[in-house]
Amino acid sequence: MIDKATYQALGLTDDEYEAIVELLGRHPNELEVAMYSVMWSEHCSYKSSKVHLRRLPTTAPWVLVGPGEGAGVIDIGDDLAIAVRIESHNHPSAIEPYQGAATGVGGIIRDIFSMGARPIALMDPLRFGSLDDARTRYLVEGVVAGISGYGNSVGVPTVGGELVFDDCYRENPLVNVFCLGILPKSRLVFARAEGVGNLAVLLGSATGRDGIGGASVLASAGFDDSSATKRPSVQVGDPFEEKRLIEACLELLDEGLALGVQDLGAAGLSCAAAETAAATGAGMDVDFTQVPQREPNMNPIEIMTSESQERMLAIVTPENLDRVLALCARWEVRANVVGHVTDTGRFRIFSGSFTGNDPADMSRCVADIPCASLGQGPVYERPQARPLDHAEVLLADPAPELLAMFPDGTDLSGELLRLLSTPTIGDSSWVWRQYDHQLFLNTVVGPGGDATVLRLPDTERGLALSVDGKARFCRLDPNTGARLGVLEAARNVACSGAEPRALVNCLNFGNPEHPEVMWQFSQAVDGMSEACSALGIPVIGGNVSFYNESRGADIDPTPVVGVIGVIDSLAAPPPGMAFSPGEHVVTLGTTLGEFGGSEWAYVVHGIDGGSPPVADLDAARYLHGLIRDLVSRRVVSAVHDVSDGGYGVALAEMAIAGGVGASLIPEDDQSHAAWCFSESASRIVVTVPPEKLSEVLTAAADAKVAARDCGTTGGTRLIVNGVFDVAVSDLATTWRSAVPLALGVNE
């Protein structure tokens, strides 16, 4: 019998332990309780978030697989499907940045090819504390090197991401990773153990002691200094093993030799085996002595719950076994039969008595539980509370203070340069130049643009991808902030002419046992749900990461979304953001004096509080429709989404990209500072050749979008009359050196 101290140390509550006893009709043994503790952990069971996630819209005619499987899958026509997933690897990366990030990449790639899809793109939304801290700089270098080292070597290009700095992440960086795969619809498979007598074949690395009770328990408890002592359980990634696994598994599926393959993730082999059987209501017997071990003298708990990387479980028929083994040998992938499918509905683990289909020798049985029970963890509706000072925070509008400091007539050139020198806004190419972002020859627009654009081989179509999160807005108001994140990702995708088809989310939050955090979570889910419904985007998958905190302080609520859009005809690259001379600069959308949570108010001037910008869902829909139309018809020459730092930064980035200036007049019904640096949502800057100007303005009026011709491009300076006047070369130097300077690296 297990004592209280043991199950509590594994993270199980008294009630949860009692539930296990009830399910089994007896006390669990040590191995059984170890499996339940991992599978019923927050990380694996979603026990605090489940009741809220049900409110997200998840269906559309093109959705083939929604949330709950290894990855979400959508039909994109031409018998092709796209599989997508996003995950967090926050806590492992805080402890060991290189391996934490690397194994995050490895894990998500396995989720994608386990659906039968070839992984073709990775994106990495990254959030760190301020770079004035030496440990943060070490984390940034390590995480980027880990993504680069693993992603490049495994042969999946990293085509985009985010790089955001805010001190709330100082000891708890957010390392999210998004992966997209492509598959012929006919190859779509599910991890299901079908057919009594079929074999469970373990593929890939030998099993070591890494990550035992590690990743899942780590991600399901408060995070503090003592976490560093968990270092020995850090998993180490081997991208070369993974590359061979990808090729072997896809070939197994192509040749119809595997009925399904499943990644070994949390709780390792025990979970993978039980889950595949639970999916069909079958049972599974496993002999742990058949598992290849990397270290001598491992006990059954270690073998069955190890989270060693680069392992998959394939279900194959006995007739196909020889061909499976031969195929794996060709790819130098280790393959061992470790179990077989039964009709018992039970997951049983044996010690050395694995005898094919002979009656099992129950005296050698070391664990015996209902397969489905691992997935039947508790569901909690945790208490929520709106923070007491929330109303006060919303009312603390930074606008009066800022406008008093910078009345019309003030030269804002210095303010613009200060914004461009912040590492969140500055050029992030120091990061993505370390990523292979071109492999497979699909990358039409790589990192650094509004959205990544990939062409789809053998079709005329393309994909547009964007990952975004607006955490500071969420801190002020989680509902609005979550809406704004969805709008920004959808707007970026629309800027390349794409129609959004699916969204995945990675919900990074603090401690769910804090009622304020659960309130933030619930509000953010509602905001996301409203925005997705309004734009007609189904949520096809996601990941929840709670307990992002250190020393008792929760991180800002950080829902990150990835939006996948489809471009029907991609004969040439979409316009891009670069100014070229002699064009009209036209702003689309409405500017209000909205500074709450803006880069200018918070980062440059340290003013906290206020309301986030209004998230008008109708206005967004009109704008996205308009820009899709203008871009598809190629009547605009350049397009850029307006986001952090407002028009000022958007215009500067367009000038830098083209090496061309502009001479513009500010809007007269707004203060100059608001026109420059307000972060009002749903705005885009386009440039238009003179002969197309009236066509664009008419199209905007028809679409109910405010459009204004601000002036023309040309020259070597970016000039907004009476507001700022800076040489494009100075803008470029400041913007390009922001991240390297903050990191203290030579470029």
Binding site: G155, Q438, F440, R455, A571
Partner: protein, 220 residues
Amino acid sequence: MARRVAVVVFPGTNCELDVARAISSLGAHTESVFHLEDSLGSAEAVIIPGGFAHGDYLRTGALAQFSPIMESVSAFAAAGGPVLGICNGFQILTETGLLPGALQKNAGLKFLCASVGLSVASNRSVLTRTTTVGDQLQIPINHFEGNYICDRETLAQMKANDQIVLRYTDNPNGSLDDIAGVSNEAGNVVGLMPHPERASAEILGSVDGLVLLESFLAPL
């Protein structure tokens, strides 16, 4: 022109499909040859594409030289057949001894994926024979170990024999003498760090890579 091109695939190779796609766009046919095979069949040209053969463990390209197929590649090269090593393929050819020198970590100690400017330094090689010395090309690089090095005598010899095929116009990795690609003495074996297949379509931003691949396929 060479119609049948063998593309050698090691475990860990990842640019084989890209190379095949670029080569097919020029009207030639590619066949992938797994490293365990011992024959190149009827191939008229051989490409060793980029990637991380054998994980680049021990040293980039070190383990690949012992795969069965490399004996055939060496024999094919000795008989004057055109052999091209791109990136990891270049590293493999230097480890195998088919090309002089070695490639070590970039001077900046970071992986680098970026488009770079190249200048044709010799048009005596199979990769550049249809170009003119001084031609400028824009082609991506994608490597951690692309910093070319060799001893002084080898460099002098290569210069004397006109074996330096391509130079960077703005050295990104610390390569000796800005070297981006070299050939053997006969000019039929060439290795380069940049990826010509990544500059093979207007929609990808450059078609300069096709200039080199066309030359490689042109009749001897």
